[in-house]
């Protein structure tokens, strides 16, 4: 479960990236975070994952405040950043082993997860190659595998579909559903409204650091009082802010 309470973040003294943000994402739910470029999605995600400190407000993951116990919070999160270009000179297997050590995964558990993930993502043949030799999509997959190796109770992704082929993207969506159904939280940002519409239990639309809407797609349709595509509603919402 993720709870954000009155979270604020300002850059360079005057650019308000996150403006009094309140969000609660319960367990067992896939939550889509939508918004135009520069809306504050990545900043919010960086605050939840401990990459950035909020100026004020509190962030709690599974009831633990990130300011009080940052390591406990980080241990329960698995984070997939928007650019997968990291540790390029390590081999895939070395990266996964590194992540497993960082998240304190036992030898037996990591071997079991490794087999499962490699098979699921079709990566078994390339794990002994350097990540540098991978395509963008394969890099994205190795980062996702590195995150899932400790089976996090909160799985956060920033634009996870970028660069994935249709098959991998389908598998990822399937895995998101399974992860949420096991009682975990799945939170991801995306531009692809179609994906949000198909997989998310709930969505929030953010623009200029503020939440404009938070609820199910059905609720959004009710809110607009007509049966329109998410794209149209999204454009209308974010446009009225300008």
């Amino acid at each position: 479960m993720i709870e954000l309470l009155n979270v604020n973040k300002t850059f360079n003294g005057n650019v308000k990236a996150v403006d009094n943000l309140n969000l609660v994402i319960p367990n067992g739910e896939i939550f889509g975070f939508l918004g135009p470029n520069g809306a504050g999605k990545t900043t919010t995600i960086k605050i939840i994952t401990g990459i950035l400190n909020a100026d004020s407000g509190s962030v709690r993951v599974n009831g633990i405040d990130i300011k009080e116990e940052p390591l406990a919070v980080k241990r329960s999160i698995g984070f997939v950043p928007d650019t997968p270009n990291m540790f390029l000179r390590l081999k895939g297997i070395e990266y996964l082993n590194f992540m497993a050590d960082m998240y304190d995964v036992s030898t037996a558990d990591r071997k079991e997860r490794l087999q499962y993930l490699a098979e699921r993502f079709g990566m078994a043949d390339v794990l002994h190659d350097k990540i540098q030799s991978y395509s963008h999509g394969m890099r994205q997959k190795i980062v996702i595998m590195g995150v899932l190796i400790h089976n996090p109770s909160v799985w956060i992704m920033d634009e996870p579909m970028t660069g994935l082929d249709p098959r991998s993207s389908f598998i990822l969506k399937e895995m998101m559903r399974e992860h949420a159904d096991q009682g975990n939280t799945v939170f991801f940002s995306t531009h692809v409204l179609d994906v949000a519409e198909k997989v998310c239990d709930r969505v929030a639309i953010i623009d200029k650091g503020r939440i404009l809407f938070n609820g199910t797609i059905e609720e959004m349709k009710e809110h607009f009082n007509r049966n329109e595509s998410l794209e149209k509603m999204f454009l209308e919402l974010t446009d009225s802010e300008k």
Partner: protein, 553 residues
């Protein structure tokens, strides 16, 4: 339509982040300015004073013009040696290459623009050596205004010929190393090859200048009138011509040499562009790709060697793997630890009379009371080497834009800093081991002293690692587009070298001045460094950890 080469050069210059002043705190900026305000004028003053010192005897024999030729020759050689790496990293390893290749630019335009960028950076370097020599000579000989005008133009031209030679070598090496899937390994071998070639050419130049026959030399000397300028061979012919142009700036002869210099530099630049047009693309296209084996391990084999390890050990090993596997880091931070002893011994090994010096030194070393000095010298070398490898002083900078990854890992900042410290400590300690081996084999230092150095040498190394890491925490250079900028164009490494040199002097001076024996030197130096290490470690785990948390990832 504006010239595309110049346009591109301007954009590349604007896009570069220089030495890393951007984003530093005001206090850091002030500190840097003060440091430069002291260091640069004192260095230039030193060169000027040395020029005066050299000129007096040369004036007696009418060969004072030699200081100009030497000055330009040394500047060119320095630009060449330092330029090779700079050229390779700018031409080939800079991430902007991938954005430039798809643009409708001719290879010679990319080569030209990148060459100009490197040239501009080399001006700082060339100016520091050449200006004091040029001005000192001008004032001492009371040269006319044309001398100063020529000098200014020649300074602008100066880096072109040596950098063109460096570019030529780099382009040829890269053309043939961009061959197969072991690209990183080839880059390393290519880089090492270029480095040794640079050193070799320098040595060749030295021996060439020694080869002038005594008769010829005395004949030239008797002529006076700066006759030696034209006689000294050099791989940079511009050095001799520029010297002639300056010395004879008042006459037609000077004008002719000046015109020759301009013409030759322009021709070299044009030749470089033509060569770039021919071979640059072959060396650079596909450079960022890495081959893979796709051996098809199969599911049953993939988890071979997958075992749980401790967080700090795994983190340290990954730091070391990245240092070894990234060509720029390997050449600048790793290999240097093995090469320092070789560099330091170079002057002793190449000349005959100095091999006797080696014997003299080992005789001096083996005197019963020399133990204190040996230990102090090893401490000083350890300080210098572990400061100049820049591993600790670039530990945060090397993370670059990916620093945020380290922020979300569930590993305390203290543990992460300790792992970074351990990787720097391990590699720097290797330098001590190589130096002790060289000391025992060549200088015949007593084995017991060698063992003593191995047991205590980690103390000064730890100090350099701690101080380097703290410096980098306060002024990390994270905004870079090629790894060279993280380690070579990083002011933090320079700070670390300065601290290392200062402390090296502080370790040796009292031991020599008060003739401390080993029984006095050992407890004093070890005690002092232990105290310093403990103090800095405490700073690292409190202030340093806080600082790491506050760097925006």
């Amino acid at each position: 339509m504006k010239n595309k080469t110049l346009n591109l050069a301007m954009i590349l210059l604007k896009n570069g982040s220089g030495l890393g002043f951007k984003g530093s705190s005001t206090a850091t900026k002030v500190m840097m300015i003060v440091l430069f305000a002291i260091a640069i004028p004192s260095m230039m003053g030193g060169v000027g004073a040395f020029t005066m010192f050299l000129m007096e005897p040369l004036m007696v024999i009418g060969q004072q013009g030699l200081v100009l030729t030497w000055g330009i020759g040394i500047t060119s050689a320095a630009v060449f040696v330092f330029g090779i790496f700079y050229i390779i990293s700018t031409f080939y390893f800079s991430s902007d290459v991938e954005y430039l290749l798809p643009l409708p630019l001719k290879p010679r335009q990319i080569v030209g623009a990148k060459f100009l960028v490197v040239t501009v950076f080399e001006y700082i370097f060339a100016a520091m050596i050449f200006i004091p020599i040029w001005i000192t000579y001008g004032i001492r000989i009371s040269m006319g205004p044309l001398y100063y005008l020529y000098g200014l133009v020649l300074l602008i031209l100066m880096p072109i010929v040596p950098l063109a030679l460096a570019s030529l070598l780099s382009m040829i090496i890269m053309r043939f190393t961009n061959l197969n899937r072991y690209k990183d390994a080839f880059k390393i071998i290519g880089g090492l090859f270029a480095m040794f070639l640079g050193l070799g050419i320098n040595m060749m130049m030295q021996s060439m200048s020694m080869n002038l026959s005594p008769e010829k030399l005395s004949e030239l000397l008797q002529q006076g009138q700066n006759s030696l300028i034209g006689a000294l061979p050099s791989i940079f012919p511009t050095a001799g011509w520029a010297g002639q142009a300056l010395v004879h700036s008042g006459s037609l002869k000077g004008l002719m040499y000046f015109a020759v210099c301009i013409g030759f530099s322009a021709a070299v630049f044009a030749g470089l562009l033509a060569l770039g047009q021919l071979i640059y693309l072959k060396g650079v296209v596909g450079l960022s790709e890495t081959g893979s084996r796709r051996r098809g391990h199969g599911l049953e084999e993939i988890d071979k060697g997958v075992e749980k390890g401790s967080v700090i050990t795994t983190y340290t090993l990954v730091e070391l793997k990245l240092l070894f596997r990234t060509p720029i880091y390997f050449l600048n931070c790793v290999i240097i630890n093995f090469l320092w002893p070789v560099f330091l011994l170079f002057p002793f090994l190449v000349r005959n009379e100095e091999v006797d010096m080696l014997a003299e030194i080992s005789k001096a070393i083996n005197q019963s009371d020399a133990g204190g000095i040996i230990l102090a010298v090893f401490f000083a070398l350890a300080l210098f080497v572990s400061g100049s490898n820049g591993i600790a002083a670039s530990a945060i900078s090397r993370e670059g834009q990916e620093l945020y990854v380290k922020k979300y890992l569930p590993v305390s900042y203290k543990d992460q800093l300790i792992a970074k410290l351990l990787s720097a400590l391990t590699l720097s300690y290797v330098a001590i081991v190589t130096m002790v081996i060289v000391g025992i084999v060549l200088f015949k230092i007593p084995v017991t002293t060698g063992v003593l150095v191995l047991l205590t040498g980690w103390l000064p190394v730890l100090f350099m690692c701690l101080s380097g890491l703290l410096i980098d925490l306060y002024n990390p250079k994270l905004d870079w587009d090629n790894e060279q900028k993280a380690v070579k164009q990083n002011i933090n490494v320079l700070y670390s070298i300065i601290i290392g040199m200062g402390l090296a002097a502080a370790s040796i001076i009292p031991v020599v001045a008060f003739k401390w024996s080993i029984t006095v030197t050992l407890p004093i130096l070890c005690g002092a460094f232990l105290a310093l290490d403990l103090m800095l470690y405490n700073v690292l785990k409190t202030v340093g950890v806080r600082r790491f948390g506050n760097i925006d990832g």
